[in-house]
Amino acid sequence: MSRPGFVLEVDDRTPPVIVHEGEGFRLEQFPLGTRVIYPPEALPAVPDVGAAIMQALLHPEDSEPLPALLRPGMRLTIAFDDISLPLPPMRKPDIRQRIIEAVLTMAAEAGVDDVELISANALHRRLTAAELKSIVGERVFRSFYPQGLLYNHDAEDPAALTHVGLTDQGEDVEINRRAAESDLLVYVNINLVAMDGGHKSVPVGLASYKSLRHHHNSKTMVRSHSFMDHTKSHLHHSAWRMGRLLADHLKIFTIETTLNNNVFPSPYEFLLKREWEWSVKDQASMLAVRRGLAVAPDRLRHKVFHDLRAPYGLTGVHAGETEAVHEKTIANVHRQQLVEVQGQSDVLVMGVPYLGPYNVDSTMNPILATCMGLGYFFNSYRGQPLVRRGGAVILYHPVKPEFNQLHHPSYVDFYEEVLAESTDPAVIEAKYEQQYATDPWYIHLYRTSHAYHGVHPFYMWYWAAHAMDHVQDVVWVGGDRQAVRRLGFRAASTLADALEMVSGTVGGSPSITYMHNPPHLIADVR
């Protein structure tokens, strides 16, 4: 049985602990009394994945079994989460491949021959053929891709979108036409964190900008406390309204999966363990990896990290009616990630790792780093934030002003033009969002190349809006000074300096909490 997460209080016997910072990590000696939150250890995996999938498809929640929904001559569409999940990417075979293969087998048995597979990438970049293949597997790829039946959702193709209606709050629900006009839409998800899944799958993943802007905006996002708790998130409330509207128009069969915390393969398992429990082998690996990274050129270091494939284990698969399924899914996620923490502290410390949802095979640019730290990690709480209102956040990341021009062309311009003028999410939204969202060049790149949509960097910034609103000070340890200044924050070279810098806000001996992730954890702050 795996051990639950826990909160360590640093005392004089505590060894330095791992802090991730981009493509690397450091061992940090925290001040005495610092709380270090460790995630629960990896839950045991489901032993027979195939059987679990069959069980879910044949005995779904609040729904007829999948075979009963399939008939000859029907239009079947399978949509699936794109490459932003899971993180890091999963060692082959991908769980989505296993499920899609099972669904396709049942469809074939039922004589369904009008089947299309859509990557639900919303305004994310189009996946390359290789990436699609890595998700659906060789066999499915070969049978569907060449015929054009396996493709990316295009949120800017008017012919491929349908306006389904307005919610009771007047929100546009516009999604992929093929999905909307199918007799059955099967959605295959990986519920890596509590934020994902439920009605955030179809109404978001297959939507257009027109629909997304109702919940992806600074006002909604600053009021979502937090994204990891859909009952308290304005963003999710909106998605839920849209999902319920869609469910009235369209038969959706949701399949959700949950993974355990096995995110680092050998020889990086030491990153999953508690530092004082490292074996001699772990210590040796740690030293070897540290030495290696220190001398590796940037290119190699990037490759080492981005080639990591996680040996995840499946902790659950549920299928059927979206909300019923999601309830079970969330329970599984909580089982793996929830850690109970007593009260807030003055300072929250987080290490931003090399990877976020939007830089798979790409570069974590300053905006993505901000989104990762202040957007996702900061929001990884239930109840109340780990840091008190008016407190300080200290982040670790190099924040190099490097951008992938293929994937993030609008990010570069956002950084050079928008952030140079203002870093206030509301100001930015009012002044620039429309311009970037409707820019023909960005739309062209989004549709034909592998670029995130023009408006995407704005969403990244909005994700961080709640944190920026909540805390007084943000300091990046080891961050590029110019880049950090551009983001509207400050940079320090060491934790001690960072604490000195925030002492004006939180005093000379603040209470400190360090979130020891990845692997993911949700702090249940009482």
């Binding site: 390359t128 053929a129 290789a130 990436e131 890595s134 940037d298 290119r299 990037h302 981005h306 095979d361 790409s362 570069t363 640019n365 490097e402 951008f403 992938n404 021009q405 293929l406 062309p409 570069v412 311009d413 050079e416 033009e417 023909p440 060049w441 062209h444 790149l445 034909t448 190349s449 592998h450 670029a451």
Partner: protein
């Protein structure tokens, strides 16, 4: 002055009172010159302007006639009006009720110049000739034309007015040339054949122009030019050849003049022709029996008191050296520590001229006055060095943001050692320059080139000034100013205060520390402050493209592709296309084959860009054009877009937003431009020739657009499309694009190679660093996704 006093002076017998009217009996200059009319030449110059100011302010009833050359569209009147607009004239102009009123009353403008002097008014009392070439290294023909012929022309017009006009000739003390010891105030002793030298000097330009056009000379210049500019095209090389020829002629004119001057005992063509000018004046005095005075100031510097302490116009002789020293750029100087630097403040010179005007010499017997300081109040070079050094250590220049400039320590080791040091530096620079020009383009090379360029400017500066001033800095002569001192002592005590020119009273420490150095460093400090405020470099920043009021659709923005928009090149893109679909072994073989050909490619590229492109495009032999297009869309798009510089794209989009026509002009083949087609209104690329099956022959359908053919194409295209090239923009990275950049009104150098970099610096074109992200190239390996 009493009769007794007059009798005391040995030369007083030659003095004739200016007038016999009662006013003239007064000893005050203002009275003696009351109601007189004086012609001034060179009023737009330093001494002339100061003299005009003196007369207008301190001789209230004296009128002036000014001889002014029209300049461009500005008539003589306009030039004087704008001169009177300067701050020092404010009071007198206001008192007269405006510049126009002053020109109508006390000033008469006579339009003309020394090569064509108009008839002079016949009621003149005196003429002060202070026009002249003040540069020390003029081309020899100009030196003669201005200092000898110009003086002659003026005197020719003066002759008909008879012996009543007092002619005051402003010469220079350095007409003494390379003489040593005490120089008397008198006619210079030499037997140079004035007419022979004059004829020789004026003929030099034609002779050198002819010599510069000989076949062997032109062959050498053309070979040099083609070595440097061949890549840009033959016409560029031709225009560079012509530039070199002209520069050679100018250079030779200076050298010839200096050599001739030295062979006769003068330092340079300036002092030589000034001396001959004096001879012309002496001849005139003898022939016309006119009253003539020759005033010989030494080195004229900023004013001690009038119009205000430190007043100076433009940079004179010592300023460039003082400023360079203050910037820490003058490591050593070829002066002797004990040689005298003979400096006079401009107000002393002007006051002496006014005093001279107040006394009329006996007709036919010229008088000489040295206005100098070396005789009675010598300033040695080492003292000058200490004073200036002291000033700068108390008030240093803040160069850039690196704090105070470091001041060099001069040991004044003598001319030979300085010369050796300089020659060594010049040789080292030449070698470094060759290496940098021939090394591959990189940020570091460009930085090196920038430093070398700075070094070159400094060395050229040093060479020029050291050559120029060596003679003066080592001069061992002292000018006797007994006549001038006597003239001063004859002044009424009140005039001695108002028109002081006794240089013995100058406290050099005070003059340099409190007056001269602050005055000459002020413009530089102001510029430094401005530059700091802008935080900018010396190259102009690229301004944002704004839609202007005119018809923006007639403005084009022309972009080069490889190196400007993307960090990629023809060979790299070729490999990308080629390696698709090959097995690992085949890839290795292909890369090996291309690598083996690389030296040949590089050589072709150096020689001529189009030959290089042709040799690369030969590799496409046998490919199907349709396949290339498809391949470009499928794989090359990501390669190109990932390497695209974000700043470049922003710029293109700015142009589009402003309504400009965007044009991509490239020597690359058309399929390679496909990923960029949405950014441009027009793409002009190389077309691969295909046979009837659509298979590439490995040849191009037409010559690739490189070098001069780009500018030719652009002109043609602009005419056809009604585009105004003067308002258009051009962006390119390579020397071979120079003709293209010269065709448009707003050229921009993008990550330029060394030659283009230098050119852009020289022409003050914006230089931008549009780099593509290194992160982009990191995650993409050629020829396919690893997964």
């Amino acid at each position: 002055m009493t009769d007794q006093q007059v009798a005391d002076r040995p030369d007083a017998s030659r003095l004739v009172a200016t007038d016999v009217s009662p006013a003239a009996q007064s000893t005050r200059l203002a009275d003696r010159l009351a109601g007189k009319r004086i012609l001034l030449t060179g009023v737009t110059g330093f001494v002339g302007e100061a003299l005009l100011h003196r007369i207008l302010t301190q001789l209230p009833t004296t009128d002036v006639v000014v001889l002014v050359r029209p300049k461009g569209s500005a008539r003589g009147n306009d030039r004087i009006a704008s001169l009177l607009g300067k701050p020092i004239f404010r009071e007198v102009v206001e008192a007269a009720g405006g510049a126009e009123a002053l020109i109508g009353s006390r000033i008469t403008v006579l339009e003309g110049d020394l090569s064509a002097v108009p008839d002079l008014p016949d009621d003149l009392d005196s003429v002060v000739h202070c026009a002249g070439d003040v540069s020390f290294d003029p081309p020899v023909d100009e030196a003669f034309a201005v200092n000898v012929v110009g003086t002659q022309h003026l005197l020719d017009r003066l002759a008909p007015l008879g012996p009543n006009v007092h002619y005051v000739h402003v010469s220079t003390a350095y007409v003494a040339g390379r003489r040593r010891g005490s120089i008397p105030e008198g006619s210079l002793d030499h037997d140079v054949d004035l007419d022979a030298e004059l004829g020789w000097g004026l003929a030099q330009r034609q002779i050198l122009e002819n010599r510069s056009r000989t076949a062997e000379h032109l062959t050498r210049l053309r070979a040099e030019a083609e070595r440097e500019h061949g890549r840009a095209g033959l016409l560029s090389a031709a225009s560079s050849t012509e530039q070199r020829r002209r520069a050679w002629v100018d250079d030779q004119l200076v050298k010839t003049g200096t050599e001739r001057a030295r062979s006769l005992g003068w330092t340079d063509a300036y002092t030589f022709t000034k001396a001959l000018g004096e001879r012309v004046v002496e001849r005139f005095a003898a022939a016309a029996g006119a009253p003539v005075t020759i005033v010989r100031p030494s080195i004229i510097e900023s004013a001690l008191a009038t119009p205000h302490p430190g007043w100076i116009e433009g940079f004179k002789m010592a300023e460039p050296l003082i400023l360079a020293f203050g910037r820490g750029e003058l490591p050593e100087f070829p002066a002797s520590a004990d040689s005298t630097v003979d400096i006079v403040p401009v107000d002393h010179v002007v006051a002496a001229i006014v005093a001279v005007l107040g006394e009329r010499p006996e007709p036919g017997h010229p008088r000489w006055f040295h206005v100098s300081s070396g005789g009675r109040n010598p300033l040695t070079f080492s003292r000058l060095y200490q004073v200036v050094r002291e000033y700068f250590s108390r008030h240093p220049f803040e160069v850039g943001d690196r704090g105070a400039a470091r001041l060099p320590e001069w040991r004044l080791p003598g001319a030979q050692q300085v010369e050796r040091l300089l020659a060594t530096s010049e040789r080292a620079h030449k070698v470094a320059d060759y290496l940098v020009t021939h090394s591959p383009r990189a940020d570091r090379t460009r930085e090196l080139a920038r430093k070398l360029e700075q070094q070159r400017r400094r060395l050229e500066f040093l060479r020029r000034y050291i050559d120029l001033y060596r003679e003066y800095a080592q001069a061992e002569l002292s000018f006797n100013d007994a006549n001038t001192l006597a003239l001063y002592r004859r002044l009424d005590p009140a005039d001695q205060a108002a028109f002081g020119f006794d240089t013995a009273v100058i406290d050099w420490e005070y003059y340099f520390a409190e007056i001269h150095c602050p005055a000459v460093t002020e413009p530089i400090r102001r510029m430094d402050r401005l530059r700091r405020a802008r935080r900018g470099s010396s190259t102009p920043a690229l301004r944002r493209v704004e839609a202007d009021s005119g018809d923006s659709s007639t403005i084009a923005a022309v972009f080069d592709m490889d190196g400007t928009l993307l960090s990629s090149n023809v060979i790299e893109t070729y490999l990308w296309m080629r390696l698709q679909g090959l097995s690992t072994a085949e890839r290795a073989a292909e890369i090996g084959r291309v690598a083996a050909r690389l030296p040949g490619f590089i050589h072709a590229e150096r020689r001529e860009r189009s030959a290089f492109l042709r040799s690369v495009y030969r590799q496409y032999d046998g490919a199907r054009l349709a396949d290339l297009d498809e391949l470009a869309d499928r794989v090359l798009a990501s390669h190109v877009l990932a390497r695209l510089s974000p700043a470049a794209v922003r710029r293109i989009r700015e142009h589009r937003a402003a309504g400009h026509v965007t044009v991509l002009l490239t020597g690359a083949i058309r399929p390679l431009t496909r990923p960029l087609r949405t950014l441009f209104d027009h793409i002009e690329a190389a077309e691969l020739a295909v046979d009837d099956r659509g298979v590439c022959t490995g040849f191009l359908a037409s010559p690739p657009l490189v070098g001069e053919s780009r500018s030719a194409w652009l002109r043609q295209w602009a005419t056809e499309n009604g585009v105004d090239l003067g308002r258009s923009f051009g962006y390119a990275d390579s020397h071979s694009d120079l003709p293209l950049l010269q065709t448009v009104g707003n050229p921009v150098a993008v990550r330029p190679d060394i030659t283009l970099y230098r050119r852009a610096k020289k022409s003050h074109w914006p230089i931008v660093d549009w780099s593509s992200s290194t992160a982009a190239t990191r995650t993409l390996a050629p020829a396919g996704d690893p997964r």
